[in-house]
Symmetry: D2
Subunit: 363 residues, 4 copies
């Protein structure tokens, strides 16, 4: 259990890193939406390693295939099943280190929870590769959100301590295309790339922070008290491996502000109620207030590192040491940008459907 | 919709700040658990304003009443319904300011989402008072967790920029009883109290950070990929009004660490696998690893402040100014401590039941 | 668990027969619906014992009370909590026979499932009294359905082997008001009443069949393959104690027909596609086809009878005999009519909301 | 939405009759269960047309393929995805009759609900072929139930008015293997086969009744009031196309009995509490009582018949006539036997897991 998400736009993830495929079913997608394998492929390609140094050597084609729910290029109302077949698999390293859990990785908890029966090859269900299926679902969610004008965007704002300067939405959109780091501050992007390069040489890894933004959000998304917009977005974002923190608007810094500083004053602009600032990150009382939704996600450094680390042999119950071989990203932040975007889109799409903003049949 | 939480231990919140009552139903509670109104009352009392200066002037008795599901002091397997009747109600200020949404509060989004039909008195469903029902559910969840040795504790670690020094679990447990701020660092507690006092005089408000800890967690709680322990805890915690950020273990600071620093090395201690550090906050791959669960929650400053603020009249669609009267906490952090504890307990109880650690019939 | 029903219009039942109250919460009810305690009371009164001979001697006032979710007589979007307080309680007989399960009743299974901790007084959660809470939810569902022209009606078509002649919808609607049996065939109603009277004298009980009809159903309600209209209606109807069979349209008799007889031919009438017959009971492929929904529900004879019956003493594990005292209906069919109507309304309302036919805010 | 079923053992159906495949994902299956493609294939083969005259001419190989969740022949705890690829597809007849809905079939409702975008070829999602995916899930559920001794069996008890004599469980189990009708009364089976043969010649179709039995059921399965064993079994069984009625134990005939006749008396046999009769079909108050669960399912005659029938052209909105070509079963009852068995198994498995009778890790 636990592999489905959503109430009206329901995604169910399946597949393993070194199994037959990674896949996703989407139940509840409105009927009449034009969508092709190419549309989905385009999104999945955003998750591709964009910069040689930062990313895994695994060279997957990651070719999207539609198994059901789309007929003549249009959604039918039936559940959509999408898969990416696994091809470039080398599980040898994993076989060798099977009983040596990588520090910081899910190897140990997965072994314990599933009684040692889990498919450990390539991290199995705990591989970043699983997020390719999130992106497939995100591709469809984005198409649906576009119908009502909602745009979702994520970008790298920090890696290894290097922080990006804040930029406007359009500049972000444009600049993240220009560098493999997906950072809107081009100078910072360069510094981040260098930091990654350096750490790679040392056999170590880096984390960072991704910011997600959603524009043109109507007022009223969110179902408090337990279906808040923050709560459901956070739940979706914590599904991304390596995410250890989620904050909205002024987030943790709000804890240091006074009410008079943090409250966003209301005003009328062009006949519409808006707030002067956006410390709330577009959400008040768990409900969207019409301002941009702003969320930041902390990504821990990749746990698989080339340095020797202390671990235990879980079979023999004795201390051991481990040098991870396999093929791993030194910093997954740039590739996770597309995943953050996708999980935001999937969640917002579900909320938009609950608010009856996306019709069940698109005409 | 959105007022239920949980899969096997399912809570449904109802009630309004100035309506008849606030209440909660709990479906799925195991049978055979001894529980009295006093047991629940004790937890609810922890939410009471402990320090005159910091808290609302509303003087509710907050008397817990069991309506169903408990017979002869023992849970029956039937849904448990618990209520606290509202008695000390003064809605006059709210009537006056009905169309003037408080900056930073849910007034505006609630009005828009519910077409102006929402019960606005005292914030209605968006009042902190609703969390008294969370604490009632938490009281039962804690009792169940105690059966399997799990202990949940929350404490204030920061208010208005004043930070507490880290303390050990036992010291935290003892010290938070000694001050109304619920801070384990007694010196910091005093400084926090002073900061609150000062801000109160200025008609302003403060936020802060609460840390939640859960001890004696078995390995294996959590249902990835979408039912991660982090994700479901975060979803539950964001149900608390004013929470704007949630992080686990090293959280946002992990973004600045290297893998070699952030990875928790495994070792064997007393025949058990443990980690040397706990940057993971007790969770790897969305599953508990047996170490203490550590979560931090950012609480924004109370939005209702005595200072005049700019707002709009939503009925007449014109700019306006507002000085909130009503009765409000200058800093809700100390009172929210019990709520954080409760939402953690409710969520962990649900996960423990999914892992079949709590029997359906207790004997 | 198991005490909630519905996806968007979600009801959660609580309370016991001899506890404090029976109640229900409704989460997801659209905002802006005018509803008063009187509106709900009127529906609950339909469940009242209408004919002295057929019904329990328990004389409950069954007074509906709104605890939350309705403000100034209008739904607010917050969860609605409704209760009926229990007043006329005499649990003495139940105490005496606590370990002697009534044949045909849930006494035995409840004892075993809940480890003997269940509230056995008056049947606890398994009392027909619980269905008063279903009727409260049904009252609101009917109001919502009325907004889109859907009308739901149930009537007695068989008791103790006496069958009613088929009648048209309007005649049913009128005639069921005229007799306590709620049977549209007035002659049959009389025969049924006599049959009940006779069986009562013998200390025995009777069952029967109730037919539910829903008119003005739009085409397209139902979410196959697992959310069929038949499946969800059946699930809701089996929640009524004593229901042992559910069939739609020609139902079990379809098993004896040929396709050419059972297929409902399509034709155009007044510019609308209709079927010439309605063997499908208004449902094709799990989806409404626009014809009236017709469902029949088999009610077993009341299990509590005044005759001596063989049972076992579950405590001492020995054979025993039992003569049920308490206060019981000889035939619950007439009172169950309102409950069948309510469960149909609740389910159809949920489907209508899934199909976005009822707006989230009513203006 | 609506394509998932279950709470802890959750199946999600996807695929179309003439699309790429029919498939199912299973989330929540315990870890450590040995299962092979052959195990599943064996169950799927039971759905194969066993008697030329009764069944479709479509000659699918129906080869089961495991896409995820099983590693080295053992379940891993990850979601299991199973598919059967479609190969022998001829959609030509469907293209021709696209706007002429078959009377009694879902063509009309599907067209209307999904705005004409549904994949109509071969009935799309409304084809009996979809039930092959139910049987795949059933194969796994049965394996799990076997671990705790539960056996599920279905058999044909009526076709075209020919009724089978009641038989004991062992005789049923043996005899249904001997004839393609899957009827335990071999003489009746012959008569049924003849009836089918005759109707086939006439270009017509037949329905019938299937009985499902589950043995060795522990006391206590079921989650009243809304998660009754009857309600959830019925919901699952109504997912099978053509099912129009479901009854338990004495079912509709209970409506004609007196309490003294219908009540199952309790007695002690071999130190266990049992009932002397089983009119309750093994379920009291929505909870299993330890006796065999007995359910009967009414199957309507196949709607696709070779006779000319009146219909409408939904595009041109005019009356029309239709002679269904395609390839269809004259009577689906024998093939539906395996499906009834599967839906029972899936539902009972879910309930057994909720009752914590099947461990999450099998050792």
């Amino acid at each position: 259990m636990g592999n489905s998400l959503g109430k009206l736009f329901i995604i169910t993830s399946f597949g393993e890193s070194h199994g037959r495929c990674v896949g996703i079913t989407i139940d509840g997608c409105p009927t009449g939406l034009p969508i092709t394998e190419e549309d989905i492929q385009r999104e999945v390609d955003k998750r591709k390693p964009g910069v040689s140094m930062a990313a895994t050597k695994r060279a997957e084609e990651d070719k999207v295939e539609i198994l059901s729910g789309i007929f003549n290029g249009i959604t039918t109302g039936a559940p959509i099943c999408l898969v990416i077949w696994n091809r470039d698999i080398d599980s040898s390293e994993y076989e060798k280190a099977r009983f040596l859990p990588r520090p910081g990785h899910a190897d140990y908890t997965a072994f314990m929870k599933y009684g040692g029966f889990n498919d450990f090859r390539g991290g199995g269900r705990f591989s970043g590769r699983i997020t390719a299926s999130f992106v497939m679902a995100g591709a469809i969610a984005k198409k649906l959100l576009n119908l009502i004008g909602i745009e979702v965007l994520a970008h790298t704002i920090e890696i290894g301590g290097v922080k990006a300067e804040p930029k406007g939405f359009d500049e972000i959109k444009e600049n993240i295309q220009k560098n493999p780091i997906k950072c809107a501050d081009l100078k910072a992007a360069e510094a981040m790339a260098k930091a990654i390069e350096k750490v790679k040489e040392e056999g170590d890894s880096l984390g960072g922070i991704i910011e997600g933004i959603a524009l043109n959000i109507p007022v009223g998304l969110g179902e408090p008290v337990f279906g808040t917009l923050e709560g459901d977005l956070a739940k979706a974002l914590f599904a991304i491996p390596a995410v250890k923190g989620v904050e909205f608007g002024s987030g943790f810094s709000a804890a240091r502000k006074r009410g008079s500083e943090n409250n966003d004053l209301f005003t009328i602009r062009n006949g519409k109620i808006v707030t002067v600032t956006n410390n709330a990150g577009g959400i008040l009382g768990g409900i969207s207030n019409g301002m941009p939704i702003v969320v930041r996600v902390a990504i821990k450094p990749t746990s698989s590192i080339a340095k020797s680390q202390q671990t235990v042999n879980i079979k023999d119950m004795e201390n051991a040491s481990l040098t991870v071989k396999g093929r791993h990203d030194v910093c997954i932040v740039p590739r996770a940008v597309a995943v953050v975007e996708s999980m935001m889109a999937v969640t917002l799409c579900d909320f938009a459907m609950r608010a009856e903003l996306i019709p069940r049949v698109i005409k």
